[in-house]
Subunit: 592 residues, 2 copies
């Protein structure tokens, strides 16, 4: 069975040595001392490693079962959820007003990575609940907040997002679910939703569905969609559980992975619902939830890569097979551990350099969200809006790739379910698809985010990198290995942007044909920037002397690997982008 | 449920217009007219599409069950196997002397691709039998051939390869299974083998295991391994089935995919075996089987990508979602088919250009095998030895990647088992692992094949490409789109080779750290060469007028896509190779 070791040292490094969160001018950050965050992360790490990780293969093996309309979750899930609730972990970064701990989002992100590494399918139950909390918190009336938020924060009730219908996923303008206004101000919701994660289960006394539907007089397309709160059980005026609402889980999907999470077909048969936010502006309200969910999904890519890498590393150190071509490293054993072989080492370095770079990227993103929400920093808000599709798609594409690489280290054993590596691959696969498939993220980035605010966030991003390179230009030890490659990668991204501006004007297909390449180019620049930042801190720490030299030297070595072997992909991406729409669109659809 | 359409037109194009097999000076090829091969391929295509493809999801869902030592294969497998046997398909390219059809290997390859597209797990039963046939045909005594070959050719009996043990896969020098000589010249085999595909099942009256084991006086390591024929049932002198041998299936593995194939733990408890080939030279004999198996595995990568692509294409033409950004293409419908979107088109072109290029690469490789075996062409033998690891690893790495891409086109539906795309991904995954994990293929390529025969095959490969470019240098229409990119890619491969020669001498890690990159670089050059060859033929066909213009124009468009967007990866691979061992090996194993 795979194991999980919380990356506590690395998180401390990122939070307190690189990001120096406690010094940032964000309300709530001053309290985030290394002692304080260390205590929280240590405790969360225990829950991850000891409570959730052992249940991960159980969830995969048993899956969920639908019996007479009731979904049974895997053995142990309910008990674990109770422990999570009892510890207050579900409301870590929710408002104290509604029973949360009131910690910044960055802490939720750091804790979240570990819990999701341990058990992704399980963490989707509280994860979606958090999304429902955020949507109601942002768009609900005071009365709605009072009714729903405390129970969602505590996870006594869980939440869901209901967007997809059989004939529409990405193109929500096509959705058909209807909402009929009632004299009492409520609505009757009728329609079928599919792919509803955590849609029905036996771990909470109520489930709060957020459902997109159309009012009778709604205009067609996305401008006629409203959002509704549709609970499994109605809630009495005193807050107690009332009558069963007329909605049900019609089917559980058989999926490639995340078996521990119930993926439901949900049928709404005139179910009572309450409008959240304004009529016909439901998509905007849902996007409050979606943007948060997208960063959460990016985190899933990182989290699965992290735990898969840990296990691949352990296996590579233990498995004896062959000899180092330059001479035995384990002369007393029958063979050397496979970590001596350069191709295995290459794969492990790919994984390690991705995981550690992505961790800083994700946590940096979380501080931007905090700066926006807590400090009203408009620049940070613009920047995280730009980076959200990159975090979602780059971290999940690469996260999946790294899980496959980690599985490969196990050879044939990687393909056998018993070893657990297959589950990481199968679970990670969904993150590339849901909350907007990665191609949609690329479209969002190129078609919407680049030009947002007249390009200000993008220009700000380039300025940030330029400023960083300039600020550290005197560091001779980092120039060739870190600063020059970052400069080149950033230039590739600028050149790609220029190409889109020039050629996309002539034909938008010229930009869209290169959108996925652009997103990956962008992701590499972000990770290159992350590694350069870590290198600066590591170099300073080594110069200052002190303990932990091995940690900082490993950081520099891992960063050098990323810059030398991974970052040059930006050149290839740029070349593809510059090939434009012609080769992509030359073939008529009928001629395929 | 996914469907499968045999790519008959494409096979005819490759076999008869590009390779022009009927004109090649290889015994047996003169009979391979387009009419003759067309009839065979059409019939095989029917079996693939109508008999085997419908059983593919059945095999995945039901899997195999071990009951009291007997393995039950999925519903319908036995009947399908009977039909395959009755049609003589199992011995298509086996010698007529032993009951085969005596056709060249290239025909077995073309037929094999289709059958494996339809049902990979099923085809492993006859596939491994073919491997056993080849090994006994190459190394057996006349008496052994008479006993075993006719039944293996007809697949009345099936075959297996027994290499791996719990503590050794790649490093066969560590294997422990023992072979005790008996007074009658036979041996008693004792030990445990794992990951034995088709190791036990209910579809044949006997199973012929080829087992690697050590003689009592064998030297340690790989030079002390012998190969044995160990049948499930002993065979009486008259050829009838005799006593049950003392071997058994101890366990079936639960795997990520290929559920329809029984992956067995095999226990040999003093089982009667017969030496195949010479004492202590078993590895060499097994490699007869392994080399053929590796090409067969490469074909699996292509085959799964081919069927996954077909289904992604059909879905992309049907699924209505969003509008072409340049204007509606399906104005009367609620939305446009997703194939209008450039990012979907990009993905489909990635898949299409890989599948069609890989098909020529694989069939060209098959003609080299025929030229070696049937015409004694030493140059062809050297070249296919060089290309075997590339065919195995490049086609399976990319084949898996393309299955993932095809799955992605389906969005959420791709993740649901019911749609069948998950199975293609899960099945294709094993091909990167078995018959020598792809890292081992890269090691074989760089550590052994490059320097084989003093580098003659490699130089011959470069000369072939140089000669091709020169021969077609006057074709202005192909220069910029095909010939120049091929020249550049080939130069990248030469530069990488030079780097290995110069730096690998100083430190072999410099070559091994770049081995996987080198293999992929090589694979791209092979596919670039394949596309350039197809472009020449397509250009000529268009110039000659005649029908089928759309087919040839599509070939040119698809080829241009590959050259413009896929082939430039060679530059990135070269850059990584030139980074050398330093970044890969800098971190001490203990510092990870």
């Amino acid at each position: 069975m795979p194991s999980y070791t919380p990356p506590l040292r690395d998180m401390r490094f990122i939070l307190h040595e690189v990001l120096r969160i406690e010094q940032q001018p964000v309300p709530g950050y001053a309290d985030l001392t290394a002692d304080f965050t260390g205590a929280i992360l240590e405790e969360a790490g225990k829950i991850a490693a000891e409570l959730l990780a052992p249940l991960n293969p159980v969830g995969d093996r048993e899956g969920c079962r639908l019996e007479n309309g009731v979904v049974r979750t895997p053995t142990g899930f309910r008990d674990a959820f109770d422990q999570l609730r009892a510890g207050g972990w579900t409301g870590l970064d929710c408002a104290e007003e509604w029973g949360g701990q009131g910690l910044p989002y960055v802490m939720g992100t750091a804790v979240g990575e570990m819990l999701v590494s341990a058990n992704m399918a399980f963490m989707m139950y509280p994860g979606l609940t958090h999304g429902a909390y955020s949507a109601i918190n942002a768009h609900g009336t005071e009365a709605q907040k009072k009714t729903w938020l405390p129970k969602l924060v505590s996870c006594e009730w869980t939440g869901t997002m209901n967007l997809t219908e059989p004939h529409c996923g990405t193109d929500l303008g096509l959705l058909r679910t209807r909402a009929e206004p009632q004299p009492d101000g409520s609505f009757r919701i009728t329609g079928q939703k599919i792919f509803i994660s955590s849609g029905e289960h036996d771990m909470a006394e109520n489930i709060v569905h957020l459902v997109l539907a159309r009012l009778p007089d709604a205009p067609p397309g996305v401008k006629g969609i409203s959002l509704f709160i549709v609970p499994k059980f109605l809630v009495n005026p005193d807050g107690s559980i009332g009558a069963r609402n007329s909605l049900s889980c019609g089917k559980l999907e058989e999926k490639m992975g995340i078996h521990g999470n119930s993926t439901c077909v949900m049928n709404y048969d005139g179910a009572v619902g309450y409008m959240l936010g304004e009529p016909n502006k439901g998509l905007r309200a849902m996007f409050t939830m979606m943007n948060e969910a997208r960063i959460g999904v990016g985190l899933q890519g990182l989290a699965q890569a992290s735990v898969a890498y840990q296990n691949a590393l352990a296996y590579a150190k233990e498995r004896l097979q062959g000899r180092d071509v330059t001479g035995p490293r384990n002369p007393d054993g029958p063979a050397d551990p496979i970590i001596v072989h350069p191709d295995i080492r290459r794969s492990l370095m790919d994984q390690k350099s991705f995981v550690e770079g992505a961790r800083l990227f994700a946590l940096w993103g979380a501080t931007l969200i905090d700066a926006g929400h807590r400090a009203g920093d408009a620049g940070a808000q613009g920047l995280i809006a730009l980076l959200t599709p990159v975090i979602k798609a780059f971290l999940t594409d690469k996260g999946f790739e790294m899980c496959v690489a980690a599985q490969q280290v196990f050879g044939g054993h990687g393909y056998i379910e018993e070893w657990g590596m297959s589950q990481f691959v199968r679970d990670a696969r969904i993150a590339m698809i849901y909350e907007g498939a990665n191609g949609i993220q690329a479209l969002d980035l190129v078609g919407r985010k680049l030009a947002a605010e007249g390009g200000k966030p993008l220009m700000g991003f380039f300025e940030t990198i330029k400023g960083f390179i300039k600020a550290h230009g005197a560091r001779e030890g980092l120039k060739a290995d870190f600063l020059d490659p970052l400069k080149q990668a950033s230039k590739d991204l600028q050149d790609a942007t220029m190409y889109f501006m020039a050629e996309g004007m002539k034909n938008p297909h010229n930009a869209l044909a290169g959108s996925t390449d652009y997103l990956h180019l962008f992701g590499h620049v972000c990770l290159g920037y992350a590694w350069a930042r870590m290198a600066v801190v590591a170099e300073d720490a080594l110069a200052a002397g002190g303990s932990d030299r091995e940690f900082y030297e490993a950081k520099l070595a891992t960063g050098r690997y990323y810059m030398a072997r991974c970052l040059p992909e930006t050149g290839l991406r740029l070349a593809r982008i510059r090939a434009g729409a012609a080769p992509v669109m030359a073939l008529d659809a009928a001629s395929f």
